[in-house]
């Protein structure tokens, strides 16, 4: 239908031309064409499958119709176009065709195309089919189509039998025409042309597709529809037109038939063809039966209708062929070649096209019908091909019958002009009726489809407001990131049951280094000007240890020192004894004792260079260490060694080592008295004529002191550690110190003391003690001895008496004026002079003081009055007798001996003012220098007088006279002291004698005076009681 719509004027023009052409052809050659066709059929024995059907009908009514139509046409149409057409006809139909086609060409190629487009499917198809058919007829041998003939032969035969005569006539006519035609056209040429034409048509079809867009007017459509489709209305317009239309109608019919036939040609549509044939036969029979009268008319009509088609077709075909020839020649010869090449596949080619066209034809016919039936609904639906064909056939048959019925035979001539109109009109009506009937299913479908569509539309229109359609968010269906190269590598090559565990790199391989070395530091000190041997020093040892880092063995250095010190003494003594044994001099001297009272004797080696010409003024044994002896050497009478010339010397001796003094102490002033510290022998105190008190600390390192090399032997001369000289002027002694005594502040017994002394031997903190110093004026000073914890090698600025590095100092404690407090007025008026002082060992608070008036004062440290205040001699008168020696009884009883310068000896008890015993004139008036109880025997004491006589008193044996008297022969004995160990009962008791020459002899007293006797104390007590 669209194709129809798009038909343009050109198409109409074409069609008009065709019509003209047809008119011309119709006028003369309708019958001829038909005849010609029929002749062909007959000649070729129904080579024209398509035509056979037509011919059946045509043949039926040919005889009548032909005459009618001829008359009709001749009467009506020929009047107008007679001349032209005839002339042309006469000249040559082909020329006319050529002219026409040329015209067409001249008008425009578009026209053709549109023609092809519009009519397109129809006409082209028709043409194709026709051409094909022609080809089939002309090219293909009749053999090819014999199969079809076979089918159709039946009809043919039937019909042939009927129409034989007529056909023969036609044939003769057609032959004539053909001859004319053939003269012009060689059949072969025409074949070529046909082929070319077909291809051209193919081209046209393509063009047509291109040109489909062109708008076609409704009218044209109608017109063309009328023209091309079987529209009866058109035939109303005019006879001329009707002719044209006729022709076209015929063509269409022909087409449809042909299509039917074409379909029947094809095996697949054989059924349809069969059906069609059946229907046809039935119809024919019916018509024959019912309308035998009118058969002829019908058939004639049909044949009339058909025949012009053929004529026109052939004419047109020829024209087209000619045109194509020209075109071909004009344009390209390639086409021909192509055509020729395509000859082989030609049938299929054409057949395929036919198929397509048939479908379209179906559409058209449906459209036509629908257009007739319902003007509105043009585009609807496909009616099955078979059905449409049937319908058309039936419709025609019916219309023919109706015509016949309506038009009586006599009216034929009258109706001739009207008939075509009627034919066109009526069929339309009938067709519509028939269409309704036949197309019910289709219509039903169509209607249902439309109603469905409308329903859905309505539904959607109602639903859409209720529904919200929206765009969803986009769903991510798959997001597969690309695999990196490493994973890819691992996937491809790392599958072999391996797994990457770790990565090894050299991150932890580090080195660290320092090139700077540590700075070594040492601390040193120096002193300038260097006063002693050590000018500089420092804690080198400690630092060495620390620097070297050598682990020092864990040594208790203190214990080691103690051990070494004691062991050293023992070893030294042993060596000394060995030396004595090997040296006869010492041995001889020890044996060579001149004294009757002694068993043996030996000398301390005072033959030292610094001791020459020095007089020993004092000897003192330690009460704790009995073997340690102090010897005080006074100033030399002639200068010997320059340095020591003006210095007095104190030597510390160990009597077991008589070869040399242990230590040598020096001081600037002359020493009068000295003593050891009470608890240990580490301190030496000395009083000088200057009134200064000196302290030596024997523990001091020898290196700190002055060292001198004398005769190949190193001697260390120790200066006092502390000196009160020049300090403490307010309290210090202003006169020579006559006595120095240690005072223990705590009570002690000898035994305990001995043990304690050992235990405290080297310790800094022993039991505290004081030192009492008394000068000529009776001033008694008490000093506290303090040991410093810290050694200051640089010297102290506050303790001016302390030597640098010294650890011991004296602090003044108290001062006592003995002359005022101790003596009564009468005694005091005599200005007594205190000479010696002794402290009671059992009660250190008590002391007794010897004076130069023969009296012994008794006092206490705390100033309390005690009785007896004075110890008086037996004679009550006061004499100027100086008390030279006082000695306490060492065995516990409060007894003491007093030796006087008049030679008298008195034995006092602490509780009585007067002596227990008094021995006058025992020394023949010689002053007593020294007097001392024997340390081992309580009843024995020794006395030395100024004439170097030694007296031994044994009170148990004789309480009136000394038991022995020994005079030291060689030289004067300056002083004497006793050596002995009261704790031991070995009876060793020695007398140390210091001679004027400076020699010190030690005499071991004979055993009878040395060994203690049993219960000697009790006997002594009895003796004393008796004497009292």
């Amino acid at each position: 239908m669209e194709g129809d719509k798009r038909r343009t004027k050109e198409d109409t023009w074409k069609s008009e031309e065709l019509r003209k052409h047809l008119r011309t052809s119709e006028a003369d050659s309708k019958n001829e064409d038909q005849k010609h066709r029929e002749k062909k059929l007959q000649k070729e024995k129904s080579v024209y499958d398509t035509d056979t059907h037509k011919h059946e009908r045509k043949d039926r009514g040919k005889s009548k119709e032909r005459t009618k139509e001829r008359e009709r046409f001749k009467s009506s149409e020929r009047d107008r176009d007679k001349m032209r057409e005839r002339e042309r006809r006469k000249e040559h139909q082909r020329e006319e065709d050529r002219v026409r086609y040329k015209d067409k060409l001249h008008e425009s190629s578009l026209e053709k195309e549109r023609y092809s487009i519009s009519k397109g499917r129809e006409s082209n198809r028709e043409q194709d089919k026709k051409h094909k058919r022609h080809e089939i007829k002309q090219i293909d041998t009749q053999d090819n189509l014999k199969s079809f003939e076979g089918r159709d032969k039946e009809h043919h035969r039937r019909r042939e039998s009927r129409h034989h005569l007529e056909e023969e006539k036609k044939r003769s006519k057609e032959r004539e025409r053909r001859h004319t035609e053939k003269k012009d056209n060689d059949t072969k040429k025409s074949i070529d042309k046909f082929l070319a034409y077909k291809i051209e048509e193919v081209e046209r079809v393509h063009k047509f597709q291109k040109d489909q867009e062109l708008d076609k007017e409704r009218e044209r459509r109608h017109r063309e529809n009328k023209e091309h489709s079987i529209r009866p209305g058109k035939e109303r317009l005019s006879k001329e037109r009707s002719h044209k239309h006729y022709e076209k109608d015929e063509e269409e019919k022909h087409k449809s038939k042909r299509s039917r036939e074409g379909s029947s040609h094809r095996d697949r549509e054989g059924q349809l063809a069969d059906v069609y044939e059946r229907v046809k036969s039935r119809e024919n029979e019916r018509t024959r039966r019912d309308l035998r009268n009118s058969e002829h008319k019908e058939e004639d009509k049909i044949q009339e209708q058909m025949s012009p088609q053929h004529v026109s077709r052939t004419v047109r075909d020829k024209g087209q062929l000619i045109e194509k020839e020209e075109r071909d020649t004009r344009q390209e010869e390639m086409k021909n070649t192509r055509i020729y090449n395509s000859d082989t596949g030609f049938d299929d080619f054409s057949a395929n096209y036919e198929d397509d066209f048939e479908d379209y034809e179906d559409d058209f016919e449906d459209d036509d019908k629908s257009g007739k039936e319902r003007d509105a609904e043009e585009n609807l639906s496909e009616i099955p091909f078979s059905r449409t064909s049937e319908i058309e056939e039936i419709r025609r048959a019916i219309s023919a019958e109706n015509d016949r019925i309506c038009t009586s035979l006599p009216k034929k001539i009258e109706n001739e002009t009207k008939e075509p109109v009627m034919e066109r009109q009526y069929p339309s009506v009938r067709n519509s009726y028939g269409g309704i009937f036949m197309d019910f299913q289709l219509a039903n479908q169509r209607q249902s489809g439309r109603s469905m569509a409308s329903k859905q539309k309505k539904r959607s229109s109602e639903l859409l407001p209720l529904i919200d359609l929206d765009f969803s968010v986009s769903f991510s269906l798959l997001d597969l990131p690309p695999v990196n190269e490493y994973d890819m590598y691992i996937r491809n090559f790392g599958k072999m049951n391996t797994k990457q565990a770790y990565v090894q790199c050299n991150e932890d391989n580090l080195e660290r280094d320092t090139q700077t070395e540590e700075v070594e530091t040492l601390e040193k000190w120096t002193q300038h000007p260097g006063k002693s041997a050590i000018v500089s020093g420092g804690p080198t040892t400690n630092q060495d240890i620390s620097v070297n880092g050598t682990p020092t063995p864990k040594i208790d250095s203190q214990r080691l020192t103690n051990f070494l010190r004691s062991a050293c003494r023992v070893i030294a003594v042993l060596l000394e004894e060995d030396q004595v044994a090997t040296e006869p001099r010492w041995q001889q001297r020890s044996r060579q004792t001149s004294l009757s009272i002694s068993d043996s004797c030996f000398q301390l080696n005072t033959n030292q260079p610094f001791l020459h010409d020095r007089k020993v003024s004092c000897l003192h044994f330690s009460q704790v260490q009995r073997q340690t002896l102090l010897s005080v050497h006074g100033l030399p009478e002639k200068a010997s060694v320059g340095l020591l010339n003006r210095k007095s010397i104190i030597c510390v001796w160990n009597i077991w080592q008589p070869s040399s003094p242990q230590k040598v102490l020096i001081c600037d002033s002359e020493v009068i008295c000295c003593c050891f510290s009470p608890n240990k022998t580490t301190l030496v105190f000395a009083g000088t004529t200057d009134g200064s008190l000196l302290v030596w600390d024997l523990r001091e390192d020898s290196r700190m002191r002055l060292q001198m090399m004398i005769n190949g032997i190193d001697w260390t001369f120790r200066v006092p550690t502390f000196s009160t000289d020049g300090i403490l002027l307010s309290v210090n002694h202003t006169s020579p110190i006559l006595a120095v005594e240690p005072v223990s502040t705590s009570l002690y017994t000898d035994k305990n003391y001995g043990l304690l002394s050992l235990s405290y031997q080297e310790e800094m903190s022993g039991p505290p003690f004081q030192i009492a110093s008394m000068d000529e004026n009776g001033t008694l000073n008490m000093w506290v001895v303090i040991e410093l914890r810290k050694v200051d090698l640089a010297g102290s600025q506050t303790d001016l008496g302390l030597v640098p590095g010294g650890k011991v100092k004296l602090v003044h404690s108290s001062t006592m004026e003995l002359s005022n407090s101790l003596f009564p007025k009468d005694v005091h008026q005599r200005m007594p002079q205190t000479l010696t002082i002794k402290f009671l060992s059992s009660d250190p608070n008590h002391f007794i003081v010897g004076t130069n008036i023969g009296l012994v004062g008794h006092g206490t440290r705390n100033g309390l009055k005690v009785l007896p205040k004075l110890f008086r001699p037996q004679e009550s008168r006061l004499r100027s007798i100086s008390i030279s020696a006082i000695d306490f009884f060492p065995f516990g009883k409060p007894l003491f001996l007093v030796g006087c310068s008049d030679g008298s000896i008195r034995l006092y008890q602490m509780t009585s003012e007067y002596p227990l015993m008094q021995w006058n004139d025992s020394t023949n008036g010689q002053p007593i220098i020294a007097l001392q109880w024997a340390l081992t025997r309580p009843a024995v004491f020794f006395v030395l007088d100024a004439s170097s006589n030694i007296y031994i008193w044994d009170l148990l044996e004789n309480d009136l006279l000394p038991v022995a008297k020994q005079t030291v022969p060689s030289e004067n004995v300056v002083t004497m002291t006793l050596l002995g160990e009261p704790e031991k009962t070995n009876g060793l008791l020695g007398i140390v004698l210091a001679k004027e020459s400076g020699q010190i002899d030690i005499q071991y007293v004979k055993k009878k005076w040395a060994l203690p006797q049993p219960e000697e104390c009790e006997k002594l007590h009895l003796v004393l009681l008796q004497s009292f």
């Binding site: 249902s448 109603s451 469905m452 329903k455 309505k458 539904r459 109602e462 639903l463 209720l466 529904i467 919200d468 359609l469 929206d470 765009f471 969803s472 968010v473 986009s474 769903f475 991510s476 269906l477 798959l478 997001d479 597969l480 990131p481 690309p482 695999v483 994973d487 890819m488 996937r491």
Partner: protein, 130 residues
């Protein structure tokens, strides 16, 4: 169509439409996904990617899944099943979908199956017929 003709304009046509699926027939993504998953696991467990076989496989899979989903009884639902199978060669793939629909009733479910040689993405869309 005869029915609509009978209904005529007089009646309220709105009442006859089902605008929402029943609660039981609603398109449930989880169950659909499960269906897809089971089918994929069953059919693709040991499948190697062979380019020639894949078109057939995708078609059969989609048909299978569609039929399976029809059994689920999503009444009045139009099912669209899309199956994409690709080879695993390390390339990145990104697939997305976007729909113009009624979000109240329509839904979709998808599942991905992957093995060493291929990946398969199945998306099933359910659109409700009103």
């Amino acid at each position: 169509m005869a029915a609509t003709g009978e209904l005529g304009p007089g009646r309220a046509p709105g009442n006859t439409y089902r605008l929402r699926p029943g609660l039981q027939q609603r398109f449930k993504s989880s169950t659909v996904k499960e269906c897809i998953h089971t089918i994929l696991m069953e059919k693709l467990a040991n499948v190697e990617y062979v380019p020639e076989e894949m078109p057939q496989l995708t078609k059969s899979l989609s048909e299978m899944i569609k039929d399976r989903l029809k059994e689920e009884g999503f009444d009045r639902y139009k099912m669209v099943v899309q199956v994409v199978i690709g080879e695993q060669r390390g390339e990145g793939v990104n697939m997305a979908a976007r729909c113009f629909w009624d979000a109240d009733t329509d839904s979709y479910a998808h599942d991905v199956f992957m093995n060493d040689s291929l990946f398969c993405v199945v998306a099933a869309f359910g659109c409700f017929y009103y």
